[in-house]
């Protein structure tokens, strides 16, 4: 029934089946919105955060999600600025993912603050020294950029094209795309960095505090590199996932491999930098603050294993895998390496947010534990569901993978006849 919305030349599953697919996600979203509503109406006493664990699941989610969403700007950067034409195959998908991640992050932030009605003060009375102000500015700006980047994709929808003015508008927008990519890249570099700075500047938390260059602590730069590294990995991962779920070939293996290579390369750089940073921190920064670094890892359960997992297991290993051509060529290795890279960055964000707050700072403090309440978890899940939904709709009605059509043609006919039932889960 919604055929005229679906792009020409691609096949999508029947409407009922699509509804069946989005139904669980919708219900999850509904539940999430309910729990978020509770937090907004009744206040943050609905969460398990407290004065000592001032940040919890949500901030961890924000940092992670934005790191993963970095694929949007970085792919744009590679494609439009560095002219890596192959990446045209995934750029639209990247933009949607970016949009999802950033809007989701901002939505959660609005629930996370105690007085959302005053959130705009940050723009009216900004404190230029605050990393959080920097973050807020960049993220909101970049979200607008993403929205503008998303528009052409949206307007290219088969039905909307019928409006002539839209077509013109879309065309005009398209000329902007290079500018947008440039601006987006700049903004993203900045706020990925400030997100890192968020914790690096906390001199009161020697576990997170880092020295740096100019006004920025080292985490500022580490975050940029790690985000840039993991962004492509995440796009790789999602593309592969969508291919699996939709039973379609959406991008050529070469594209995924390229993504993998870029990811691997940057990840290697990141691991190197991170290692150096850690060594400096262990041997200078932390002891200077009177905190022998060994102490941090004496508080169970956060032993040195977490450091190892973060740098070696989920850093070095995937980097090497993605750098080794013969491994990269095997989809299994490539995808799992990408997954590990994503996990590694998530772990890094977890350490910075949760472990930092769990560790005592005063001699008579205790090691703290925290477990999110169902309202927090619900809100978290809402973002996931929201992401899946937006992506599903975009995938169904928009051209996320330009190569899909050609690839479809290449696909041998009989394959489709063999198993018509399986044709197009979407």
């Amino acid at each position: 029934m919604d055929k005229e919305f679906i792009a020409r030349g691609v096949k999508r599953c029947s409407t009922p089946r699509f509804l069946l697919w989005i139904l669980p996600w919708l219900s999850l979203l509904a539940f999430g919105l309910y729990s978020a509503g509770l937090c907004l109406v009744k206040g943050l006493n609905q969460t398990n955060m407290d004065n000592r664990f001032a940040f919890g699941l949500w901030i961890f989610l924000d940092l992670t999600v934005i790191a993963l969403g970095a694929g949007a700007f970085f792919t744009g950067f590679l494609l439009y600025i560095l002219k890596l034409k192959e990446l045209r195959a995934v750029i639209n998908s990247a933009v949607v993912i970016g949009l999802v991640c950033y809007s989701g992050a901002i939505a959660v932030l609005m629930v996370d603050v105690g007085q959302p009605l005053r959130a705009w003060f940050t723009f009216w009375y900004p404190n230029v020294h605050s990393m959080l102000a920097e973050v807020t500015f960049c993220i909101t700006c970049y979200l607008t950029v993403l929205a503008i980047e998303y528009l052409p994709i949206l307007l290219r929808n088969r039905k909307l094209r019928e409006v002539p003015s839209f077509l013109v508008f879309e065309h005009e927008l398209h000329k902007l795309v290079y500018v947008l990519a440039g601006v987006g890249t700049f903004l993203s570099f900045f706020h990925q960095g400030s997100l890192g700075g968020l914790y690096g500047v906390l001199r009161g938390r020697p576990f997170a505090f880092r020295e740096g260059f100019l006004v920025w602590p080292s985490t500022f730069f580490l975050f940029i590199v790690s985000a840039a590294a993991v962004g492509p990995s995440f796009i790789l991962l999602t593309t592969w996932l969508v291919e699996k779920i939709s039973r379609k070939r959406l991008a050529r293996p070469a594209v995924l491999e390229l993504l993998g290579r870029i990811s691997g390369l940057l990840l290697a750089v990141y691991v190197l930098a991170k290692t150096m940073d850690t060594l400096i921190w262990i041997n200078r920064t932390s002891p200077d603050a009177g905190f022998p670094a060994a102490q941090y890892y004496a508080w169970r359960p956060f032993g040195t294993w977490i450091l190892f997992a973060e740098i070696v297991l989920f850093g070095l290993v995937p980097a090497l895998v993605m750098l080794a051509p013969w491994l990269r060529r095997r989809t299994g290795w490539l995808v799992s390496a990408a997954a590990m890279a994503c996990l590694g960055v998530a772990l890094n964000r977890f350490v910075l947010t949760v472990q930092t707050l769990a560790l005592p700072t005063l001699a008579f403090d205790k090691f703290l534990s925290y477990w999110p309440s169902w309202q927090e978890t619900g809100t978290f899940l809402a973002v996931v569901a929201y992401g899946v939904l937006v992506y599903s709709f975009s995938f169904r009605y928009l051209q996320l993978f330009p190569e899909e059509r050609e690839l479809k043609a290449e696909v041998r006919q009989e394959k489709e006849e063999e198993l018509p039932a399986m044709a197009g889960r979407y």
Binding site: N45, V113, G114, M131, L132, R203, G204, D288, L362, A363
Partner: protein, 250 residues
Amino acid sequence: MIARYGMTIDVDRCTGCGACMVACAVENNVPPAHQGANDRKGITWIRVFQVNNGQDYPNRRSAFVPVLCQQCGKDAPCASVCPQQAVEIDPATGIVGQMPERCLGCRYCMAACPYHARYFNWWDPAWPAGMEKTLNPDVAPRMRGVVEKCNFCHGRWHAAIERAAANGRSIQAVDYVPACVEACPTGAIQFGDLNRPESAPARAARNGNSFRLLEKIGTDPKIYYRSTKDWVHRISSAPAPGLGKERSRG
């Protein structure tokens, strides 16, 4: 800087009676605990911790340490992080001010504070019926969802200024004492202007038995603790895991 208000707290004199904690709450219109509150969700601008030498009975020795906002120096960890200038250091008094009406409740400053001296309003303030009549008119009650903390009883500072103006005295670097200082029955807490060499905290700053919490992280606090016991001095440094367990109550 006109004045630099600070405190000296003699740990050896503190009996842990808690008078300072309730006097503070009375002065600053801090509501009684919501029944869901605990020692991590409550609001105690000044909180007395019972610390001990880490040994067991019968060798256990305890001391009481009142911890309030340490009123850090010019690079206070909380001031620089606030995204919308709700935290600032008053150049006229050196007091680290927190503006609940400007605060959006992001709690970044709480994560930044190593002394856990900042408190979030997890609930809307609530007093038993009729008890709101006992609120102090010099301090505005805060609303849910914002951060608050000790500001050396700013209401009293305002009152002191008015009194000075009425009596034709200078309104700069006025003399006043915060509620906790007034309430302390043993005189363990003393308050004064660090810029005046003869003031109690200024003298404490020069005293050999004085120490400040986590001096090494360079926050330059204005609260000087004092004790003749060596093991008490250990609380000024970083936590040590082994001792950490059972190291404190309060």
